[in-house]
């Protein structure tokens, strides 16, 4: 029995670690899209954040400076997106895709230019990374039935950014639904003309929303390269930005359901590695690809209307033009 609990706690812990970048990116997308700006560039911002964090951590030796660099890189990309989509009313999908392509190429080019290791950063030492934090009494309580392993293996022993990602969800709830900034941000994604006629700048609200998205994506990137991983590897975002976008749609643009969608996708990913090679009666060996495919399939099924309609913010993807 104890063994099973330990197993479950470990699977959940791995789920949490794999979900962390999804949660940060999905919350990023939540802010941006609730303000009416489509964010298909989550992937690119995540990748840029990962590269900048690893590069700076490696060059300075400080994970904190690395994190800061990741955040700044994410926000810089967000600023490009905002400038194209808000100031110049460009197509939000095109701009987002451009950001993804830019990040994919730029990280490799800069990686080669700086480190000459084929686009990777050097492996980071323990001092250059965010390491798992062991909460008090974790080892002492490990033996306690049920709660022990959950505390020791799931709640304790995660790195700082995992806790930050989990905190970002209640924070998003408070900001979006309990502050006047959040009220106007949501309004700008539904009926920007109402906000404009109330005397508030649509552009400035959307800029702030998109910048928050950049900040969260940058953190997600830093998590990948200097917390969960030990250095930057080319294309290390590996489609997580898109999965986060899928989770956002799956969660119907609401913070808590989006969190659960991220965790669901995380559990699929963590079980994929455990299920590889396992053969089930009748079915035979499960191809890992099938499990990894699940998030995308689920999103398609959702968009087809099987789990009720996902209604996006009304002004999503529509540039605001002052008009009569």
């Amino acid at each position: 029995m104890h063994e099973v609990i330990v197993d479950i706690a470990q699977i959940l812990a791995s789920t949490l670690r794999l979900s962390t970048p999804l949660i940060l990116c999905a919350m990023a997308g939540l802010f941006s899209e609730r303000a009416g700006v489509v964010d298909i560039g989550l992937e690119g911002k995540l990748l840029m954040g990962a590269f900048a964090a690893a590069a700076v951590a490696s060059l300075t030796g400080s994970p904190w400076l690395g994190l800061l660099a990741g955040i700044l890189a994410g926000m810089a990309m967000a600023l490009v997106h905002a400038f194209a989509c808000i100031t110049h009313r460009g197509d939000q999908i095109v701009s987002g895709v451009a950001i993804n392509i830019l990040a994919s190429g730029l990280t490799v080019v800069m990686g080669i230019a700086i480190f000459s290791q084929g686009g990777q950063s050097p492996p980071l030492s323990r001092e250059e990374r965010f390491l798992p934090i062991t909460l008090p009494f974790a080892d002492a309580l490990r033996g306690v039935p049920i709660l022990g392993p959950i505390y020791a293996d799931l709640i304790s022993g995660q790195n700082l950014l995992v806790y930050v990602a989990l905190l970002s969800v209640p924070l998003a709830v408070v900001v979006l639904f309990a502050t006047s900034f959040g009220l106007r941000l949501r309004a700008v994604g539904e009926a920007p003309e109402a906000v404009d006629s109330a005397g508030y700048s649509v552009a400035w609200l959307r800029y702030r929303a998109v910048l928050i998205a950049g900040l969260l994506c940058g953190m997600g990137g830093a998590y990948l390269s200097i917390a969960h991983g030990g250095g930057f590897v080319r294309e290390m975002s590996a489609g997580k930005g898109y999965i986060a976008l899928a989770a956002l749609i799956f969660g119907k643009w609401r913070p808590v359901p989006t969190l659960f969608a991220c965790l669901l996708f995380g559990v699929l990913e963590s079980s994929a590695s455990r299920l590889s090679g396992v053969s089930l009666p009748l079915v035979g060996a499960i191809p890992v690809d099938v499990v990894l495919l699940a998030p995308y399939v689920l999103t398609v099924v959702l968009l087809a209307g099987f789990f009720g309609r996902a209604i996006p913010p009304r002004a999503l993807s529509v540039p605001y033009v002052k008009d009569r």
Partner: protein
């Protein structure tokens, strides 16, 4: 003497090649209801958008209560007590009334602090002006009249002393309009200055103290309402004398051209939009469909034109019965002789980026084909378009210009000319004069009557009740996707039709009385069947 609430001096504003406002002066006395009247595109909306800080004037001065002010943004105007009620509501539909009000009012970072304050202000508004609304209702669930009240409250709740209403009655039933005007009179008695922008002469005469007339970006007259009348205002608006078209019927209606039976339709979410609609449309008559926008008239046109399939019931036309099992398409309907002037000419009637000669054969490519069946012949298209333009006085008469380069009235004339040119037996017409200048309205009305006299059966949908009453031989009122009643033109007046538009079946008696008359039998029965559901 108190200084005027608003004084605009030599306001000019240009959009590209269009001089929207040209040295406009305007003075509005404090505590008065002032009307600004003019045709579509005369520059009324631009002028008030400048006054509400939405646009900035290129030149000119603005003074409020005697003090010169600069209005660079909406926030400036709001701070100075100018509240604007837009033609299209500036509300977040899925927010509550309270949230919508807090959008502009919440100054504290957390909403909890502002909530009590806004509720208190709302109570004060109710006390002072008698405007009440449930603050916790989601706006999109409120009837349009109440949504507009929310807009008015929004304009006043921040301390607004000058209220601007831009075409406020376009979306209201006649009854809701009366209630709006009652509220405006109360506001006036409390010292609020009101600017009413409209193109409806009746409203100016009914409620304003003073009136200004705009034409082509210029202010052409200021006068006390008591010193003028409708005819002279209309003349000032248009710049020449206006003959009002009236329906003089030359002969009785003929055979049934379109027989509609228990017709129902749903929208894409499965919500019922038309419920058991039954009526007959006869050759040589115009049936006007009266109703506030969004009560099923658009869906009725779409189903009859073959754009959307019915979900139940049927309609028979030219020997063919269209139903859910046997749907039609617009191409088939056109070939059978049913023409359609859609409600939204810019999206459904024309391709704005196409040349007029191409637009002139849309839906009627047979007029563009020559001996070589599979090719369109430019020369034929140009000749066809040329003929239509001359016949309907479309200006400029150049088939090679893009549709987007024509005024609303000329675009509409070309759409009507195209459908007219196919000599239809049934013509569906949606909002034929929306956004069209008075000169073109006259022309279009005359053409519709002439077509009717030639034996065409016309179904006319319009939100302008005056238009319905002026042209129709019979008036059918719709509410919430049902026919409330059908009246002969002789029995239809603003009040009876207005009540029916609101869903009140006062017409039941006259309807029954009319049953014996030509063309009413099935309509009456259909109506009764509709009530049983």
């Amino acid at each position: 003497m108190t200084p005027p609430a608003v004084r605009l001096t030599a306001i000019s504003k240009r959009f590209g090649a269009v001089q929207a406002n040209d040295a406009v002066d305007l003075t509005v006395a404090a505590g008065a209801i002032h009307g600004i009247i003019g045709e579509n595109g005369a520059g009324k909306s631009t002028l008030v958008s400048i006054l509400s800080g939405h646009y900035t004037a290129d030149s000119g001065e603005i003074a409020l209560f005697g003090k010169p002010v600069k209005l660079a943004t909406s926030a400036d105007a709001i701070a100075l007590g100018i509240g604007m009620v837009h033609q299209h509501f500036m509300l977040v539909p899925n927010f509550t009334v309270l949230e919508n009000l807090m959008l502009g009012l919440a100054k504290a970072p957390f909403l909890a602090e502002s909530r009590a304050d806004v509720r208190e202000r709302l109570a004060r508004i109710e006390e002072d002006y008698g405007l009440s609304v449930d603050p916790d209702m989601v706006v999109e669930r409120l009837p349009v009249g109440l949504q507009q009240r929310v807009e008015i409250i929004k304009a006043l709740i921040g301390g607004g002393r000058i209220l601007i209403l831009d075409e406020p009655t376009g979306v209201l039933t006649p009854d809701e309009t009366d209630r709006l005007f009652e509220s405006l009179k109360v506001l006036k008695s409390k010292g609020v200055t009101i600017l009413l922008i409209t193109h409806k002469l009746r409203e100016i005469m009914a409620i304003t103290d003073t009136v200004s007339v705009m034409r082509r970006g210029r202010m052409v007259a200021h006068t006390a309402t008591a010193d003028t009348d409708r005819a002279s205002l209309a003349e000032l608006m248009v710049g020449r004398s206006v003959e009002l078209v009236t329906n003089t019927r030359s002969r009785a209606a003929g055979e049934v051209a379109l027989a509609v039976r228990d017709l129902s339709a749903e929208d894409e979410t499965g919500k019922g939009r038309l419920h058991a609609i039954s009526f007959d449309l006869r050759a040589g008559e115009i049936v006007g469909v009266a109703g506030v926008a969004g009560n099923g008239q658009s869906e009725l046109l779409a189903v009859l034109a073959g754009l959307t399939p019915p979900s139940g019931g049927s309609f028979a036309f030219a020997g063919r019965t269209v139903s859910a099992a046997a749907p039609a398409d617009p191409h088939l309907m056109r070939r059978l002789g049913l023409a359609h002037v859609p409600e939204d000419r810019r999206r459904e009637g024309l391709v704005m980026a196409f040349q007029m000669l191409e637009n002139a054969v849309l839906g009627y490519l047979r007029f563009a084909r020559g001996a070589r069946r599979w090719l369109l012949e430019k020369r034929r298209m140009r000749e066809r378009c040329d003929g239509l333009m001359r016949r309907f006085d479309v200006r400029p008469p150049d088939p090679r210009l893009r549709a987007a380069g024509f005024s609303g009235g000329n675009q509409q004339k070309l759409v009507l000319a195209r459908e007219h040119g196919a000599a239809p037996t049934v013509l569906l017409v949606g909002q034929p004069t929306r956004g069209v200048d008075i000169g073109a309205i006259e022309f279009i009305h005359r053409e519709l009557l002439a077509l009717r006299d030639k034996g065409c059966a016309i179904l006319l949908v319009s939100v302008e009740l005056d238009e319905i009453l002026a042209l129709s031989d019979r008036v059918m009122a719709m509410n919430a996707g049902r026919i409330v009643g059908i009246l002969d033109a002789a029995d239809a007046d603003r009040q009876s039709v207005g009540l029916m538009m609101a869903g009140v079946d006062r017409a039941a008696n006259s309807d029954r009385a009319a049953m014996g008359r030509a063309g009413m039998g099935h309509a009456g029965m259909g109506h009764a069947a509709g009530d049983e559901r």
